[in-house]
């Protein structure tokens, strides 16, 4: 298979498979996925529970190894990198927002936001910092520890942290899964704003059609295969597609 890397794609996966376990106990979580995520776009990944969404995201982000296939982030094929190279790549080019436990409890909100930069030994771009903090709307909460913040606030801090190092792509795994709909909406709006205003690329896994409707494009997984996609989604169109898939 020849590889033509789409210059506009931030992340490209080709023939991506992931198998857990061996022999009879083998679980084929991903069965050969070809997908690319455009730079400056907000993409949602959806699918029934157990369809392989988290696994796909982990493989795309270099957090887990793949069984076969390739993943390119920018010009780097991350499936060929050593652990050390992968770590440095994550540090420089990838941002994360997890469903829960995103922040170090010993650090304040601001320290948490700056953490990736400090790990990389880089200076924070003060203009960006101000802008991010402004967008997140947490200026008066910066000196608080995570335990003093609400769940929604914690997730916003996590998003701010992902943004601050200007990564090529941010991966978010159900970032609003633990939030009520209002806090969820705040976080999602914030994510979309960062795509529009900062040109950030975001890939988000979600269960929620409403959350998915914030994205520019939604791709659907079933049994480890990419089965369809919807561009310019609305909650209704996503919902319909899900019903169709589950039928």
């Amino acid at each position: 298979m020849t590889m033509t890397t789409d210059v506009r794609a931030a992340v490209v996966a080709r023939g991506l498979s992931k198998t857990y376990g061996q022999g009879d106990a083998a679980v084929h979580a991903l069965r050969g996925i070809d997908v690319s995520f455009a730079t400056g776009a907000f993409t949602a990944i959806m699918g029934p529970s157990g369809s392989g969404k988290s696994t796909l995201m982990h493989c795309l982000a270099g957090l887990d190894t793949v069984s076969s296939g390739h993943v390119h982030i920018g010009d780097a094929d991350i499936t060929t990198l050593s652990d050390k190279q992968l770590t440095l790549l994550r540090r420089e080019r990838i941002g994360f927002v997890f469903q829960a436990f995103n922040l170090l409890p010993t650090l304040t909100a601001e320290q948490n936001i700056r953490l990736p930069l400090e790990i990389a030994g880089r200076q924070a771009d003060q203009v960006l910092m101000d802008r991010v903090v402004e967008t997140v709307g947490l200026r008066d909460r910066l000196s608080h520890k995570p335990s003093q913040l609400s769940g929604g606030q914690q997730q916003r801090v996590a998003v701010a942290r992902a943004l601050i190092s200007k990564p090529q792509v941010i991966f978010a795994d159900e970032p609003t899964g633990n939030l009520d709909s209002r806090s969820g909406a705040e976080v999602l709006a914030f994510l979309r704003r960062s795509v529009r205003e900062l040109g950030q690329t975001i890939v988000m896994v979600t269960h929620d059609p409403v959350a998915a409707s914030y994205a520019d494009r939604v791709v659907f997984l079933r049994d480890g295969l990419l089965v369809s996609e919807v561009t310019q989604p609305t909650p209704q169109s996503v919902h319909d597609m899900l019903l169709k898939l589950e039928a």
Binding site: A61, L63, T87, F101, N102, I119
Partner: protein
């Protein structure tokens, strides 16, 4: 509930392993102590029993020696098939250079072949006549004599006598002979060489058909009450008993260290169970939700601790066996006069004691954590995240700590300024222990500032991992405090010992410099006669005649050790408190300050002196000498000429020699040695020799203490490793997050190492401070002016080593954290 507990134990077996290791080592030390001493005891018993089997009846004197005619009398008794008198005295062996070997004269003993001979031969045979002798193997080795050599021994008149060395013997467990070395002759020669006026023991063999008891009766009837008469068996029992008394001290000292190790182990257990309970809050709450009572939760934790305690105690007994064997091997290596041949013995007493101590300590240490577990509310099961433990110093804790700290200081102050001597020292150490308890109680409060202090440099140097590590080390002050305090105990004791050794060493050296401003000292060999051995009277004059020698001063004193003659004042500069030494002329005396106080005398008063040649005399006090001066400890000092008048021209106890300026050390030494050839028993030591001997003694003592404390320190390091691995477990998701954000594996490992380094450093810092402070306090209770020295290098070394040891303890937990898969860890609950 029992099933749940056991399932839990199996599930957490890895975590409990380190914990059990702490108890295992503690129990191992205590069991090892008993294994060692029991084995030695058994060895003694075997040895004495074997010896005693050869002897039917033994006659020993009550005070004087047994005269020769008693031996004849006993030989003639019916039922006696053989009799042998044992002789022991001194018979100075000359080494190959012709000087008497050792500072104490070699013992001369009788060795007679025959059925009653209890000697064990390493090589050769018993002396077969007056021209033959045997030597103990240690002396033979150190002085390089072999069977077939000719050895020279001084007889009573200090005349050189030559013997052919026909055998080497093992003096076994005879402490005295092991110390002095022994040269053995046949009985007649031994009597002649040592000048002994009788026997120290007479052994009898019984004729066929005569029982020892019957023979004992016969002998008693013949000798009456003058002597102690025992059958061989009774003798063996008594000898074994005597040797056990000495063993009891060994047991006591070793157990003291064992208790320290056990206490440290208890802290480790306490901490581990606390952490385990904290981590299992949800599990516990779930149990409560489904109906478990508080009592059941409490009992399940105690049961868990009991199982851990039991398993580790059993392992501890095995370790004890090993340690006992190791200790025995060490004693064997250093030729300690104890039987090392017996097979190691694990007696029922050791087993019961080890199990009980291990079990008890573990369960007691787990009581508080178990009580904490009962306070878990069922609702905690529903909370998603374990709450961060915040610590606030409660009022009770503050008051308790305050009382303990103040009490400890007060006790120590009383010890320093009110009491003195041994009580003072004991009270000061008790004060130290109380103060230390206070530190343990207040520890969590100290942890945060100390962590910040110790972490200051790592924070600056190691970037983000450093900062995170220091924050983590201060995150749970209670846990960190208990972890480090275990190490603090070891470091405190090490520092204390270092300070005391260094100070005593310095005191000895400075007093040596002050009182021994000379190059050589000559003393007589000990052991030849009762009382102070004297250097031949003509030695000072012989030395003064040497061109290499500058000054010679002789220290002479009377038999009671109270009255001394004034030595050459060019060498000695006693501290004169009042009066003057110039006034010390015929018919006067200088008193020590203490003696003046005792007598209520001052300069100008008349005091009585009891002399041997001039009877009672009245002398006028010319001066009072300070405590620190060389003669300060001698109550009376009289002019040299007067001393001759009072006591005759007796030899000095010590002669001090100062070489002429510009004479090389080896040249002067050879000259002095040559001058002393005629006096083989005179012992020549240089100032450097004396210092070297002191240094060796101090080093030896220090090494032994350090080795014994090593175990407690090892256990505390296990504690650090344990806490870290539990913390790592707790922070699995945090570590995964950091890795996802780009922290490399080495950085994550480094982070945990730094955390451990900070913990180690904090523990050591506190230990060093307390150790130095109480080292000072201990020295203050010693009445004589002791110099206070802090061995800075050594103390710094403890800090560095503790920090490094912390890092070492972190190796395994850090590896585990760094090698965990990110995805798997993120999913962990």
């Amino acid at each position: 509930m029992l099933r749940t507990t056991l399932a839990g134990l199996v599930a957490h077996r890895l975590r409990l392993l380190l914990t059990s290791l702490a108890i295992t080592l503690g129990v191992g030390f205590i069991a090892g102590t008993f294994v060692l001493t029991d084995t030695i005891e058994q060895g003694f018993r075997q040895l004495f029993t074997a010896d005693a089997a050869k002897v039917a009846v033994a006659v020993t004197p009550k005070d004087e020696l047994i005269p020769a005619k008693v031996l004849d009398e006993l030989t003639a008794l019916p039922g006696v098939s053989g009799a042998q008198g044992l002789v022991r005295g001194t018979a100075p062996l000359l080494d190959k250079s012709g000087r008497a070997a050792g500072s104490t004269a070699t013992s001369g003993i009788s060795v007679a072949a025959g059925p009653l001979d209890r000697t064990s031969y390493v090589a050769g045979t018993a002396p077969g006549g007056p021209g033959e002798a045997v030597l103990d193997e240690n002396t033979a080795r150190t002085r390089q004599f072999a069977v077939g050599d000719t050895i020279t021994v001084l007889d009573l008149a200090e005349k050189r006598r030559q013997f052919t060395l026909v055998g080497l013997i093992d003096v076994g467990v005879d402490q005295n002979l092991a110390y002095t070395g022994a040269v053995g002759f046949d009985t007649a020669t031994a009597l002649e060489m040592t000048g002994a006026k009788g026997y120290r023991e007479i052994d009898l063999a019984a004729s066929a058909g005569v029982s020892p008891e019957t023979l004992k009766k016969t002998v008693s009837e013949a000798l009456g009450q003058t002597y102690t008469i025992k059958t061989g068996e009774e003798l063996a029992r008594k000898l074994a008993l005597d040797s056990n008394v000495e063993l009891d001290y060994l047991v006591l000292v070793l157990l003291l260290f064992g208790c320290v190790a056990m206490f440290v182990a208890a802290l480790v257990i306490y901490n581990t169970f606390n952490i385990l309970v904290a981590q299992r809050t949800r599990e516990m709450a779930l149990l409560r939700c489904i109906g478990a009572t508080r009592g059941q939760v409490f009992r399940s934790i105690l049961l868990e601790s009991a199982v851990v305690g039991l398993v580790s105690s059993v392992l501890g007994l095995l370790v004890g066996l090993g340690l006992g064997a190791l200790g025995l091997a060490a004693l064997g290596r250093f030729d300690a006069p104890v039987p090392t041949g017996a097979s190691v013995a694990l007696t029922p007493r050791t087993i019961v004691l080890g199990l009980v101590v291990g079990l008890l300590v573990t369960v007691v240490a787990a009581v508080l954590p178990a009580r904490g577990a009962t306070r878990v509310a069922p609702i905690a099961a529903l909370r998603s995240q374990v709450e961060e433990q915040t610590f606030r110093a409660g009022l009770a804790r503050s008051i308790g700590a305050g009382l303990l700290l103040a009490g400890g200081l007060a006790l120590t102050a009383v010890a320093i300024w009110v009491l003195d001597g041994n009580t003072g020292l004991l009270v000061a150490m008790g004060g130290g222990a109380v103060f230390f308890l206070g530190v343990i109680v207040i520890g969590p409060v100290l942890m945060s500032p100390l962590g910040a202090f110790a972490g200051w440099v790592p924070r600056k140097v190691f970037g983000v991992p450093g900062r995170l590590a220091v924050d983590n080390s201060r995150r749970n002050p209670k846990r960190a405090a208990t972890t480090t305090v275990a190490l603090t105990i070891g470091v405190t004791l090490m520092t204390l010992i270092s300070v005391i050794t260094a100070s005593t060493r310095e005191t000895v050296v400075s007093s040596l410099d002050e009182q021994f401003p000379v190059d050589f000292m000559i003393t007589a060999q000990y052991g030849r006669e009762d009382g102070m051995p004297l250097v031949p009277a003509e030695v000072p004059a012989t030395l003064r005649a040497l061109p290499e020698v500058g000054l010679v001063a002789e220290m002479r004193q009377d038999d009671t050790g109270e009255i001394a003659s004034l030595p050459d004042r060019a060498v000695f500069r006693p501290e004169v408190v009042s009066g003057s030494l110039a006034a010390l002329t015929t018919g006067t005396v200088a008193l020590s300050e203490t003696q003046a106080k005792n007598l209520g005398a001052k300069v100008g008063d008349d005091v009585p002196l009891t002399t041997t040649k001039a009877g009672k005399v009245e002398v006028k006090v010319a001066a009072l000498l300070g405590q620190d001066s060389l003669n300060g400890t001698m109550p009376y000092t009289v002019p040299a000429a007067d001393f001759d008048k009072y006591f005759g021209a007796i030899g000095p106890v010590r002669v001090y020699v100062k070489v002429k300026d510009g004479t090389a050390a080896d040249v002067s030494r050879r000259a002095v040695e040559a001058a002393l050839t005629a006096y083989p028993t005179a012992q020549l030591v240089s100032a450097a020799d004396v210092r070297g001997e002191f240094d060796d003694a101090f080093d030896m003592m220090f090494t032994i203490f350090a080795a014994l404390l090593g175990l407690a320190i090892l256990i505390s390091l296990l504690g650090i490793a344990n806490t870290l691995s539990l913390s790592v477990h707790e922070r699995t998701r945090e570590s995964a997050l950091l890795r996802a954000l780009g922290l490399t594996r080495p950085q994550l490992r480094g982070m945990l190492s730094i955390e451990a380094l900070v913990l180690g450093l904090v523990g050591a810092l506190v230990g060093v401070v307390i150790g130095v402070a109480f080292g000072w306090a201990a020295l203050q209770t010693i009445p004589n002016d002791t110099v206070f020295v802090v061995p800075v290098g050594q103390v710094l070394l403890y800090l560095v080593l503790s920090a490094l040891a912390g890092v070492l303890a972190a190796v395994l937990p850090a590896r585990r954290a760094a090698n965990a898969s990110i995805v798997g860890s993120l999913a962990a609950s």
